[in-house]
Chain length 164, copies 2
C-alpha cells in the first residue's frame, strides 16, 4: 500500500491522542513511528525514559509496549468503523536485555488471533477480547523486552443500553 495522506492520518491521530490525553505518554516523548496495517510501532527517546543505571526504565518499556498494543487494537477497530473503548486486561512482560539508546515497541496480533473475528464478537456481544504480542527490538534483531497482553473492547452504546 503506497504511503498517502489518508493512510498516514490514523497514525498521526493516534500519536496526537496519546500525547494529548495521557500526560505520561507526553513525558515519555512517545512517537507513533509506523503502521503497515498489521504491526504498529511506537518509539521513545532514551533521555526522558532513563533509569538509575543509565539504561531504559522498565516502566517505560512496559508503558510503550502496552500503548503499542492498545493503539494497534484502536487502529484496527477504527478501520472497521468501531469506536469501542479499549482496555488492557492483563499482560506478561519479560525484560531480556538492557536498552542503552532510543527504543521502539512493535505490536502485532498474537498468532491465530483475527481482528475480523474480534469485531464480529464485539458487534454480537458488545464486548470482545484479543491477544497482542509486542517486542522492543535491539539493533541485532533480538528482543530487549517482550509483552503478551489481552485487550478488551467494550461498545459504550451497548454498555449504556444495558445499565440499570
Amino acid at each position: 500500500m503506497p504511503a498517502s495522506a489518508a493512510s498516514a492520518s490514523p497514525l498521526h491521530d493516534l500519536e496526537r491522542k496519546l500525547r494529548e490525553e495521557i500526560p505520561l505518554a507526553r513525558a515519555m516523548d512517545l512517537r507513533a513511528a509506523g503502521y503497515d496495517g498489521q504491526a504498529l510501532t511506537l518509539a521513545a527517546p532514551l533521555p526522558p525514559n532513563i533509569n538509575d543505571k543509565g539504561c531504559a526504565f522498565g516502566g517505560s518499556l512496559a508503558s510503550l509496549m502496552t500503548l503499542a498494543g492498545w493503539g494497534l487494537v484502536r487502529l484496527q477497530l477504527q478501520a472497521r468503523g468501531s469506536d469501542a473503548d479499549v482496555y488492557v486486561a492483563d499482560s506478561s512482560i519479560r525484560y531480556l536485555a538492557p536498552v542503552w539508546g532510543d527504543f521502539s515497541a512493535v505490536a502485532r496480533p498474537l498468532e491465530g488471533e483475527s481482528f475480523d473475528a474480534f469485531l464480529d464478537t464485539l458487534q454480537s456481544r458488545g464486548r470482545a477480547r484479543i491477544g497482542i504480542v509486542c517486542e522492543v527490538p535491539l539493533p541485532d534483531g533480538t528482543a530487549a523486552a517482550s509483552l503478551a497482553a489481552r485487550f478488551v473492547a467494550i461498545d459504550p452504546a451497548r454498555v449504556r443500553a444495558a445499565a440499570p
Copy 2:
C-alpha cells in the same frame, strides 16, 4: 519498631533516588508512602497519571507496582548491608478495575520467599532472584491491579571480578 529518624531515612532516601534518577517517576509525582520492614507502599496522584478515559493509565499502574517491588528489594538488601544492583526480570500484571483517584502500590515478598535466603544466595553466587507481589488497593479493600514479578540482584563487585 518505633518510628525514628534512622528508620524513616531509608524510605526518604528511596523516594529521593527514584525521583532524581528516574525522570518518569518524577513525571508520575511518585511518593514513598510507607515501609513497615516487610511491605513497601509507593503512591501517586491521579492527574499526572490519567488516561484518555479519565482514570489511571495502565502504564502508570504497572510502573508504580514495578518500582514498589524494586524499591522493596533495594531496602531489604540495604538493611543487610548489600548495595547490589536490582533489575526486574519478568512480571505478570492483572488490571482488575479502573482507578478514579490517587492511588498506591503495596509490595511484599511472594509467599514462601525469604530475603535472608535471597541474600545468602547473592553472597555465595554473586546473583540471586526473588519473587515479589504487589497490589493497587481500592478503598473497599479489593485490588484494582496486581503484579507478580521476579527481581534479580547482581553484586557489581562479583560481576566486575568475573569480567574478562
